[in-house]
Amino acid sequence: MSSILAQPPSDFEGPLLPLLLVRDLKKHFLLRGSGKLGARVHAVDGVSFSIAKGETLGIVGESGCGKSTLARLLMHLMPCDEGDFTFDGEAVNGAQGIGVASLRRQMQMVFQDSSASLNPRLPVQDSIAFGPRMQGKGRREALTVAREALRQVNLDPDLVGGRFPHELSGGQKQRVNIARALAIGPRMVILDEAVSALDKSVQAQVLNLLVRLRAELGLAFLFISHDLSVVRYISHRVLVMYLGQVVEVGPASALFAAPLHPYTRALLASRPSMDPARRIESLPVTGEPPNPVDLPPGCRFAPRCRFAEAVCTAKMPMLVTRPPDEGLRHEAACFIHDPESGHSLAGTGLSWETLT
């Protein structure tokens, strides 16, 4: 990754320290009026991960698995119940370290709905200039920054800058949103389903733009999507979430070639294929995810898993590291990969082919 070599001058701690470390992040929503007192939705339940400088971490999972909540927690747009953030070696919002305001100067977010995330009554260059202005720049200077940001996302500031959001196409609006994030000068950008609402050809343009920006600016991305092919294209590492928990995390190539967790396998098998010989005849996973209010005590995927055994419903599996093949860690929270778990398939090292 050439981007790791070209670090911005704001990097104090060197390229080897992770840019963002998140430990045991939790967010439970209290349900009101459900009849049951104290019923909670476990939206994000003990998520830990790290992102290296210039790295792109893809997050995939079904809708409702807590991906967007995770993004909002990271941006501190909603308070978390538990968990620690460390940004470039400094604790965020603790007694020491950096505050939320300074985190937001280094971390920005692009939302899914490109129209709703732009003020309909402001010309787009003013929307972009709002961020720099809030960080103390003058009107003129902020506008210069905004126009430069528009140029970075391949939009002509003279042509597009003075237009209103409704005068732009979906792809242009999403570029404007990316420009708005870049105008702050962040080191990390969270893209929450940022290309999901765009059609395929525009999606490709925006993805190529993101890849170029990542190389030019040394940006780290947290790329949230339900679209596996898009995640595979852009991510260095991929994290799979199921009902608020991490079930598998590993290098994109390894995860897509040899997924460890049965849920990841099912997810990958459900992708439509261009190859008629690989088309799926039966559904790889059946049933609905369990109600996030009344969660089963053991593995959350156990009710839908074809390899589930007694041990799976009794205990919660932890993330275990598969013996590293290529240097990058590949972890999964499944008893099949824990030799001491007591699962009948434990430690047999089942491959993708033998199980499908």
Binding site: L77, F111, S117, N119, L122, M134, G162
Partner: protein
């Protein structure tokens, strides 16, 4: 649309192309000019009358629009009346828009406790019929022009607050507010740059509809002796005193009503046009 222009410049251009808005603006301008230039425009002294000139029809002896029940010239009284009536129609609405609209925006934007406190207080005011509330407040304050205005302002604050609160709560849920918060902006900056522009439309439209209501409520207060006092010409007051003479000179008696009607239509046209001009999608 040209590539670079400010939002308000665009609003102004669209406003100038809106026939209804222009008509409303023209009528209002005429009324305001008549009110300001009353001593020069009015043909007679509005308070000078004679018992033999009572209730004369249109055009009688130089009295273009007839005379009222005390023989005073109707045209002059209507022109002078525009002063008090416009003040009674506009001032309470402006006051209520600033106070109620401001409270509503704050309540809608911050939600939770701020919203609870503001909106529950408004609900208490809502519990009274607006006319009764205005009478009670004006009566408690003693009665007079200023007291009437204050009473009407207080009556209009709760509905204004509710309109602003609803509009703001809708805008607040949109992603661009979230995105603005993600840049580290404080609440006031977000309200100034991102909220006000998006809620001003519904607030202004509602405010303009309140102007005619305010003029009529003020007439009611004057009738009870709680607002404008009798010799002063005021459209609402004229309407209520002339009602008894409706069988003698019906057209003369309808004049103050017509004046109120034209003024309120002008405000509606103006606000309608403004609302459309402020909608950037058109």
């Amino acid at each position: 649309m040209p590539a670079s222009h400010g939002y308000w410049l665009g609003v102004w251009r669209k406003f100038c192309k809106h026939p209804g808005a222009l008509l409303g603006a023209f009528l209002l301008l005429c009324i305001v000019l008549a009110a300001v230039l009353a001593p020069w425009v009015a043909p007679f002294d509005p308070n000078q009358g004679g018992i033999i000139l009572r209730l004369k029809p249109f055009g009688y002896d130089g009295h273009l629009l007839g005379t009222d029940e005390l023989g005073r010239d109707m045209l002059s009284r209507l022109i002078y009346g525009a002063r008090v009536s416009l003040a009674m129609g506009v001032a309470p609405v402006v006051g209520a828009t600033i106070i109620g609209g401001g409270l509503g925006i704050v309540a809608g934007f911050y939600g939770k406790i701020a919203n609870g406190i503001v909106m529950r207080v408004m609900d208490v005011f809502y519990a009274f019929p607006s006319v009764l509330l205005a009478v009670a407040i004006a009566g408690a304050m003693g009665g007079g022009l200023i007291d009437g205005m204050v009473a009407l302002t207080l009556v209009f604050i709760p509905p204004m607050c509710r309109v602003a609160e609803t509009a703001t709560a809708q805008v607040r849920r949109l992603d661009f507010i979230e995105a603005a918060r993600a840049t580290g902006a404080g609440g006031w900056a977000i309200i100034r740059y991102h909220v006000i522009g998006n809620v001003l439309g519904p607030i202004l439209v509602y405010a303009s509809s309140l102007v005619s209501v305010s003029m009529l409520l003020s007439a009611g207060l004057s009738f009870l002796g709680l607002s404008v006092q009798p010799p002063t010409p005021d459209w609402g007051l004229m309407l209520s005193t002339l009602v008894q003479s409706i069988y003698v000179v019906p057209w003369v008696c309808a004049l103050p009503g017509a004046a109120i009607f034209i003024t309120s239509v002008s405000f509606s046209l103006l606000s309608n046009g403004l609302g459309e001009a402020m909608d950037v999608r058109r």
